[in-house]
């Protein structure tokens, strides 16, 4: 079967009323939380994760994915109207989106963001459709040694490239893996790090971990910061959105370049939507004949990052679905959701679960069209949503978190865990450690240990096993190169007396 046949079969799956409904729920809820500052896609996905236990795996993953790309697309609204990023990947959009709004061009900025997101997202899906099955075929022959090295590479890339400090990123990956070892060892039934708590025998609950790290700590950090912010007062009409011919001409090339940058970076492990948006913006600014207009309401400064982050969001599914290596925290949650439903992530997903893979891809097309509808005729809803004060919002978020985690096992233990990880996450936030590498380490850690133990068994204890196999050796070389390069550039920037650039969290 050709790609188009597969895609057609995928649309058959995605267009069933049930899947269409959950696609809409995901995209709508994603836009909802993406628009609101102080609650991100991570927290939203964690809150809805327990509900997906009751769903078919395809519907579950379609909904969770919708939250993710809906959240990234929705984040631009708050960036443009409030100068406050709704999600981290739209932080750059503030730089020119907010000045545009101040000049009375809020409608145009919102339309630019929506159209750029749509084009970027669509291009990302095309690339996903074209490359994912090929990559999956390549990885079919991988054994434990290859998977071990691939996982190591994914972890190193996540830890060093995306975070501000390579050492801190690596420390968080290791800490995440350590949390991942808690519970009963599958090989020997040995209890590890349970400290006599029976509730930990099955390991730390992923939902409690991510709700604490991303939900509770975000609420604590946002109450004083967002509580006193100005409310959105602009009214955005359809008429104010209409672009002039000149606007379209200026935005076209940045959208295409942003899409290219985003698609490439999204597919690599460790470089997600946030980094893609930053790089696309910097690239446009360097390319511009008059860089001084950036930061003062240049339409290019909205078009480039918005197309980059949305194409990156789509291509991020390539390594996650075909290799089982998530590029960031959201993809790690996505992977965990697949495993909860008994689907082993890896190259076999495309061949063994074609309805899931192609159904998901088809749902991306549908979801992106839904986003257009949600953002152009219905933009007024989201503008009004920004008028809801945070002090009414965060108690509701906390209630949802508590009930969500309580409902998993009907036990208050999960709530204690959420509290623990909320405190850990808040401390990390204060001390400049990023939570995304931790969650990637937590999800990949047990797989890494499993690959390692199986590989050592196969190799009869011979460590050179990893070097003798060509793909494994190649991945080892690349991993070491990335590690040396990133640590080296950190040392150099320290020596030059400036702090490494880190993406602001939202």
């Amino acid at each position: 079967m050709g790609v188009l046949d597969n895609l057609a079969a995928g649309f058959d799956v995605a267009l069933t009323p049930v899947n269409l409904f959950y696609c809409f729920v995901g995209v709508f809820f994603g836009t909802f939380v993406g628009t609101l500052p102080g609650i991100g896609a991570m927290a939203a996905i964690s809150i809805l994760l327990p509900i997906t236990f009751y769903l078919e795996p395809t519907a579950a993953i379609i909904m969770l994915a919708g939250i993710y790309y809906g959240g990234v697309a929705g984040g631009s609204t708050a960036s443009i109207l409030l100068n406050l990023p709704g999600s981290p990947s739209t932080a750059v959009t503030c730089l020119d989106g907010y000045p545009m709004a101040q000049k009375g061009k809020a409608g145009l900025a919102l339309l630019t963001a929506t159209l750029a997101s749509f084009i970027g997202g669509t291009a990302g899906i095309v690339i996903l459709t074209a490359f994912a099955p090929a990559l999956a075929e390549l990885a079919v022959d991988f054994g434990p040694a290859e998977y071990f090295m691939l996982t190591v590479f994914g972890l190193i890339a996540t830890a060093t490239i995306a975070s501000g400090s390579a050492v801190k990123g690596l420390a968080m990956v290791v800490l995440g893996m350590l949390f991942g070892t808690v519970g009963t060892d599958v090989y020997t039934a040995q209890f590890r790090l349970t400290y006599g708590l029976w509730d930990l025998a099955e390991g730390i609950d992923l939902i409690a971990l991510s709700l604490g790290l991303f939900g509770v700590s975000e609420v604590i950090a946002s109450i004083d910061r967002i509580g006193a912010r100005p409310q959105a007062t602009q009214r955005v009409s359809m008429r104010s959105m209409l672009p002039t011919r000149d606007d379209l001409r200026r935005a076209a090339a940045p959208v295409l370049r942003g899409t290219g940058i985003g698609s490439a970076l999204g597919a690599l492990p460790g470089t997600g939507a946030t980094l893609a948006s930053f790089i696309a913006y910097a690239f446009e600014k360097r390319l511009a004949r008059d860089p001084s207009k950036f930061g003062k309401g240049a339409i290019e400064g909205v078009a480039a990052p918005e197309s980059a982050n949305n194409s990156a969001v789509q291509t991020a599914f390539i390594p996650t679905l075909t290799l089982g290596i998530p590029g960031d925290g959201v993809m790690a949650l996505m992977l965990a959701a697949l495993m909860i439903h008994g689907i082993v992530p890896g190259p076999a997903v495309v061949s063994k679960h074609p309805d899931l893979f192609w159904g998901l891809v088809a749902s991306f097309w549908i979801g992106n069209v839904m986003l257009l509808v949600l953002h152009i005729p219905l933009i007024g809803i989201w503008v009004r949503l920004l008028q809801v004060p945070y002090h009414l919002l965060y108690p509701a978020i906390l209630v949802l978190i508590c009930i969500g985690v309580y409902s998993v096992n009907m036990s208050p233990f999960g709530v204690y865990l959420v509290l623990f990880f909320g405190l850990v996450g808040y401390a990390m936030r204060l001390l400049g450690f990023e939570p995304a590498p931790l969650i990637v380490g937590f999800v990949l850690g047990p797989m890494l240990e499993n690959h390692l133990r199986r590989a050592m068994l196969l190799a009869r204890g011979d460590v050179t096993f990893f070097v003798e196999r060509p793909i494994s050796a190649g991945l080892l070389v690349v991993s070491v190169a990335v590690l040396v390069w990133m640590l080296g550039s950190e040392l150099r920037s320290r020596a030059a007396g400036r702090r490494p650039v880190s993406a602001p969290d939202g």
């Binding site: 509900i51 690596l170 604590i220 906390l398 409902s407 709530v415 050592m456």
Partner: protein, 148 residues
Amino acid sequence: MAAFDRRDLIGGLMLVVAGAVPLADTVTYPMGTLKRLGPGFFPTVLCVMLIVFGIVILVGAMTRDGPGPAVDWRPLGSVSAGLLVFALTVDSLGLAPAVVLLVAIATLADRPYRPRRTLILAAILTVACVLVFQVGLGMKMPILRWPF
């Protein structure tokens, strides 16, 4: 007395502790052989790595000056207390009182604290939760219990 980057000083110290405390346990698990790695091997390696990263960050922090972290004590205290009270009361008193207590305590972070608004919000959220989770999703959660 040299200047320190206080934020990284604390961060490095916490990493060393986060590695050292579990290390005391993981070294007691069987390490296994290279062919058959035991349950203690992997976590022990992780703990040692954490301690090393902590020391690297500590050493870096001693070479430069920097401010300490600015803690939002009020939100930190009220949100933590709210979650703790929810966990303590949800089984004994039931869902509704636990939600009311959570909202009442967590919103202590607001300045100024408006008790009437908090009560209304708590009532709305409780009703919404019962409707969504009990009626809508059919979860079996006790709404109200009388423990005495």
